[in-house]
Every structure is written in C-alpha cells, then in structure tokens.
Amino acid sequence: MIPLLSLHNICKEYPGVLALDDVSFELYAGEVHCLVGENGAGKSTLMKILSGAIRKNSGSTLIDGKEIEINSPIDAQKYGIGVIYQDFKLVPELTVAENILLGKEARKGNSPFIDYKKMHQVAAAVLLQLGEEIPTTLPVRELSVAQRQIVEIAKALSKKVRILAMDEPSAALTDKELKNLFRVIRGLKAEGVGIIYISHRFEEIFEIGDRVTVLRDGKFIHRCPVTEADRRSLIRWMVGRELEQEYPKVELTRGKEILRIELLNAGILQDINLILYREEIFGLAGLVGAGRSELARVIFGADPKESGKIFLEGKEVNPRSPREAIDLGIGLLTEDRNRFGLIMQMAVRENISLANLRDLLSGPFVNKAKEIAIAKKFTDGLRIKTPTVEREVESLSGGNRQKVVLARWLYTKSKLLIFDEPTAGIDIGVKYEIYNLINKLAQEGIGVIVISSELPELLGMCDRIGVMCEGQIAGILSRSDFSQEKIMMLATGGKEEVMNEG
C-alpha cells in the first residue's frame, strides 16, 4: 500500500538550532498516527512544514507516492492538508459561522454578496457532525476556550481534507468534549482521512492512536504500533532516560503560618478563608473559571479586593499593585507565561532582572556586569538552555521560558510564591525539574501555592488541596483524604455524579 503522505529525510535549521535532523514520517489513509516528544522535539516544526507555514531545508514530501512541494499554506490546502494549531487562528470579532467558512463563504449565486442563511446552515451542519451546539451567530470572542477549539476543528473539517494534523487538540477540552472529538476522529478514519495527532496526554494516544512516532531534539527516536508502547516506554523514548516516578514528592512537616486570608471578596470571589503554612505545598484545584487565578491575582495586588483581610506572616497587608506585593515578598508565576509573564523580545538577562532592578542600580544606572552575573547564576542553577543570557526569550522553548520566569521570582527573594499552571505545555523532563524546585522552595520555608488543572499533578505534589467552585472555596483536603473523585465532586459543587467510586 502506498502511504497517503511520506516525508523523507526532512531537515530544518534555524540559526543555531537544528530543529529537524533527517526525520522521516509516513501516514496511511485511515490511520491515526500519534506524534509525541517533548517541546523542542520538532513536532510543531514538522507540522509547520506540512502546512506550508515554513519551508524545509532539505528532504522530500510525497503524497500518494508522488513528490510535491508545499511552499505556502495555499499549496497545503490544495493537497488536502488541514492543520489545527494549538494557538487558535480565529478572528474574534467574526461569528462562529464566518470563522468556520472563512475564505470559502457561501454567496448568493455568483454575486459578491454573502448568503448568510446558507452560511449558518453549513456551519451548523459541520458543528452537528462534531456533536456540538454552538450558536453560529455568536462572535468567537464570546466563546469559551473549549468552544473555540471546537470551532477550530469545525473550520478544518469544513474543507475537504485528506490529511488532518491536530496539535494538542484536547488541551482545553472537557471529558465529554474529548469523547465527541474522538467520535469525529473515528468517523474521519472510516472515510479514509489520515490523521496526525499530537498530544502530551498518553491516555489519549492509547485510546485513539494506531501508531506512534517519538521525536527527541529534532531526531527520530522510535516508531511502533500503539499497542506495543506503554506509558513508561514512551517517557523513556521522549526523555532519553528512565524516570523513577513522575511526581517527586518529599515529606514536609508543616511550619508556621505564612499567609492568612479572611473573608475575602473580590469580583467573583466570595468569602474566601484560607490559611497557608510554611513548609507545605498548597494546591488550588477547580474548573476553569472557578476563581483560582483570580484569587492569585488579588493576593498579588494585580486586581483590587472589595473586602476582607490578608495577613502575611501574621501582619495585615493590603497590596494594591504588583509592585507593593513584590515588595512584601509575594511572587506570582502567571498562567500563560507568554502573555502575562515574559517580555518576548527582551533578553533572558533582562527578563530575569525585571522585577528586581533596584537591586542592580548604581545611581540611576543598571549595573550590567552584576546583572549578567546574576543572570548566569540562574541560567546555570536552573539549567536554562540558552546559548547566552543575551538571547531573546522568544527563541527559547516553553520549559526554558518558564524557568526564566521562575528565575525572576527567585531573584526577588519572595516569601510566598504562587504558581499558576506552572507546567502547562512543558516537557516531562523539565516538569520534573520544576517539581523538584517547588519541593526545595517549600523546604526552605517559602510559602507555595500551586494552581493546576492537571489533577494528578496536584495529587502527586501537594500536602493540602483547596478546591474552588464558583468563586468559593468548596473544601480543603489533606493528603490523607486526597482522591480525584472527592476533588471533582467539590469542584462541580457536588453536581457531577461520582462515577467510579470504590
């Protein structure tokens, strides 16, 4: 059988990095081929080459055994290649229907006027195929992240695709939505569409994949049927070494109180009461929109509080700006580090020192020699992979970017650090390093709050978990009471039936 798609000996070089080193890949019709690897392994680069967003340096592309060149996204479309990117390519101001049919609008006959009635019908039909009911007249900006993901998928499906590449399509989906997605994927398979599925979540690979290809550092490492792989072997191929356990929990004995919150109200937050101790890792669980990030932002002074009291080390504090919070010794590693954490076009050095430049001042001037020394200390200490501290942060991988943010807050010598989704989009290897760092910080007596949507992460790393639901703390669990079911129950306000009890 001739493969639907073959990529032979693909190389792609960026200044200073070989992003893809002689990688070959093939996809048969009706196959779900999973592509796994850590960030920087080359998955996204391969997708971009396939979609025509960037050009390869060498290698060949074959479709149905015939050699072709993909020089632009239009070429890719012509050959029936659809790519769903991780970061959505939707126009927020346009409606769902307009987005789904962007570039192939239904017109009234051959006139230049758009036939909106037909547009909505077609869009609704595609959505129905996905088992989703999203009003097609809504502007995309009003949709939730999960709904946007669905629209993105619908957009790809509305074209006649033979090859569909999905880059982390499940990142924002709930279980129910994921099941729908899998149903759609199976439907496409049956129609002979070849699917490239990129995901960090192994369960999904085992459920939907036929074959899996592992890349590491731009090189091909392993390919096998999914049935011949397990979690442990996948991790080994991806990381290149054996990991003893995923969560390196250390035993901590709870110390003195570091943070106390009494009857805090702000925005959606209602009557929050919370006590946090030194030498413990406190997790915050909850659904998206439950108020976890909002709570972090209020503690950090980024959003105002309406009423209530915050005590740091027993003293009442009232940070009205991030600056005041930082001066009190509070640090926040924001969710979405690219949007809220980093200044992309600035150097690693400048990003590390940004919150604590006063420490580097001689008169009005920044002492650059000292700044370089500090930046080097942290890039070495945290093993941030960058050619020099002068490299712009935008050229770093996700994990290294997160470490740069972490370095910034370590340099401010914070007493309390709030990690909001610290490992989102980060490799297993670097995750492990970050867990170890969090452990070390807690052992050193720094108050640590970890917000995460990955329940196993919270269960694996925390000493206590506060579960939030609709702006309130629905309950706080100690390690001995930890269970996924209890957390889900609290997070959904007891509405979700506990499925696999016992």
Partner: protein, 323 residues
C-alpha cells in the same frame, strides 16, 4: 564572561545591531552619492548646515522614540511646536529685562510641552483612550489655541538677542545642533543604561507582563509623553528663534517627518524594539536627502515623492532583513 565572546554571543550581538547597521549603510551610501553629484555637499559648512536643518525634527524624534517604544504615538508634536513658539515669544515681550525674559521664554516652552504631554498621559493611562486618538485631538486643540491666542497673526518684534538660540553658533557649530547632540546623548544613556529606559522597552514589549513584574506602567507611559512633549516644546522655541517670530502655523505636519525618522531608524510601531541611534540615523538620512536634493535643484514637489519612496524602501529593507 566566557559566554559573551562565544560565536553565538557575537552573532546575537550582530543581529541586534544590524537594524542600526543596515540603516547606517544606507546613510553612508547616500552621503557617497550626493558627494559625487555635488562638490559642495561634503564640505564642513554644508554638513553643519544639514545638522542645523535637521535639528528640530531630530530633537522631537528623540522624544517620539520613547513614545513609539511603548507602542504609542504622539501626533500633537507639530502643534505643540506652534503653541510653545507663540507663547514663548509672547513671554519675551513682557516688560522685563532680557536676563529674566529669556529664561522665562524657555521655561514657558518647556511647560507647554510638559503640560501637553501630561494631558496626553492622563487620557491614555487613566481613561485608556488610545494614544492615536488622544494626540490627534490634542493636535487640533493646540493648533487652534495657537491661532486663537495670536488671532492668526505671527508674534513679531522680538529682541535681537533671541535669534542667538536658533541661529547662533558656538565654535562654528549651530546652537540647535549642539542642543540636538545633547538630547541624543542623554536619551541614549537613559534608554540604554537606566532602569527607566529598561522599563520603557518592557512596557512596549508586553504591558501586562511588565505590570505583573511590578512596573508602574502608567507612570512610564505618562513619562514618555512628558518627555516627548517637553522636547517638542524646546523645538518650538528653537524654531521661533530661527524665524525670529512666533508663528501659529509653525511645525505643520512635523509629526509626520518625526514619525518617519523614527520608523526609518528601525523602531517598531508595535513597541519594544528600536533604538535612539537608529532614530538619529533616520533623522539624518531624511535631512541629508532634503539637503542633497536642494543642492541638486530638485523641486520641492519631487522631493516629497522621493522622500515617500525612501521611507518605503527603508522600512521594506528592514522587513526583508528580519526574515
């Protein structure tokens, strides 16, 4: 500092300076071409002349660089030039000795600029109105104010000594040229070596991330508009001095020349990227172009077209280089 001299470090440094470098090459090319075409071009006198002619827009362009680095824009600078010119010259006509009147006039010019910048800053930071709109409004407001105040007539009859400021020379170098050089040296130091300069880049690069890193972003924005306004105010009195009168229609369309200098100099309108050296080269490139075309007797209509083409070419080259 081993890492700093490694090949990758050098390539990083090279890449960073290439934007200034590229435009610098354009400047050198331009100088060579005009030197060939006109024997008078590359004489000390003409070089000083160019520096004098470019000085006023160049001084404002330094301020505009601060603003554009924060992803802002200030369209009001031309009108501030006019208002500061007419008010400063009016101050000169008070019945006080020149030793008081002179500093007073300069003070008035500075205050006008700072007030304008502060008003822009308040609307931009406190009411979150986009800089384009705020400064567009201020542009017509200040222009109108200048006309109302003078009833459309220039302020004449100024003391002769006043012309020293715009037309005087110290060791053969025109005073505005010296002021321009001072402004650029200070701006360079501020942007490159101070915490404030770092914050300007940070705010322009990612405003929310900068705020969450503890930077008082509103204060930075406020300051850059004040700096830009103050420099426009100074330019206003310099121009009035050169014309020996306060003209309510002075500085018309200056904002465009100034923005052109900044953009040709490689500073991104999206903020966070650019340099004061680039702006200086950009301003000189445009100034030399004007001067050279004048020497070659190219009419002013053609000059407008040529200038537009050069702006497009310069920015196009910059884009190609980035790929």
């Amino acid at each position: 500092m081993k890492g700093e001299s490694s090949p990758t470090a050098i390539s990083t440094a090279l890449r960073r300076s290439l934007s200034e470098f590229g435009i610098g090459i354009a400047l050198i090319l331009e100088i060579i071409i005009f030197s060939q075409l006109s024997p008078y071009f590359f004489t000390a006198e003409n070089i000083l002349n160019v520096s004098l002619q470019s000085s006023i827009t160049a001084i404002i362009a330094a301020g505009m660089t601060f603003v554009i680095l924060t992803a802002g824009i200030d369209l009001s600078v031309g009108s501030v030039v006019a208002l500061s010119g007419v008010l400063a010259t009016s101050a000169l006509k008070f019945d006080v000795p020149l030793s008081t009147g002179f500093p007073l006039a300069i003070l008035v010019a500075l205050i006008i600029g700072i007030v304008s910048g502060s008003i822009a800053g308040v609307f931009i930071t406190k009411f979150s109105i986009t800089p384009f709109i705020v400064t567009l409004a201020l542009m017509t407001i200040w222009r109108g104010t200048a006309f109302i105040y003078t009833d459309g007539r220039p302020v004449w009859g100024l003391p002769e000594e006043f012309s020293m400021l715009g037309s005087g020379r110290i060791f053969e170098v025109p005073v505005p040229t010296l002021i321009m050089l001072a402004v650029y040296i200070v701006s360079y130091i501020v942007l490159k070596y101070t915490r404030f300069g770092r914050y300007v880049y940070a705010v322009g690069g990612n405003r929310e991330a900068a705020r969450l890193a503890g930077i008082n972003t509103n204060r930075i924005l406020f300051c850059v508009y004040m700096i830009c306004g103050a420099l426009a105010g100074i330019s206003g009195i310099l121009l009035a001095s050169r014309m020996n009168s306060g003209q309510p229609n002075a500085g018309l369309m200056y904002e465009l020349d100034v923005i052109a200098a900044v953009v040709v100099g490689g500073t991104s309108l999206f903020g966070g990227r650019g340099s004061i050296v680039g702006t200086f080269i950009g301003a000189m490139l445009i100034g030399i172009l004007r001067n050279g075309l004048n020497l070659l007797n190219v009419g002013s209509y053609v000059q407008m077209v040529v200038l537009g083409v050069v702006i497009l070419l310069a920015v196009m080259l910059d884009q190609i280089r980035k790929r």
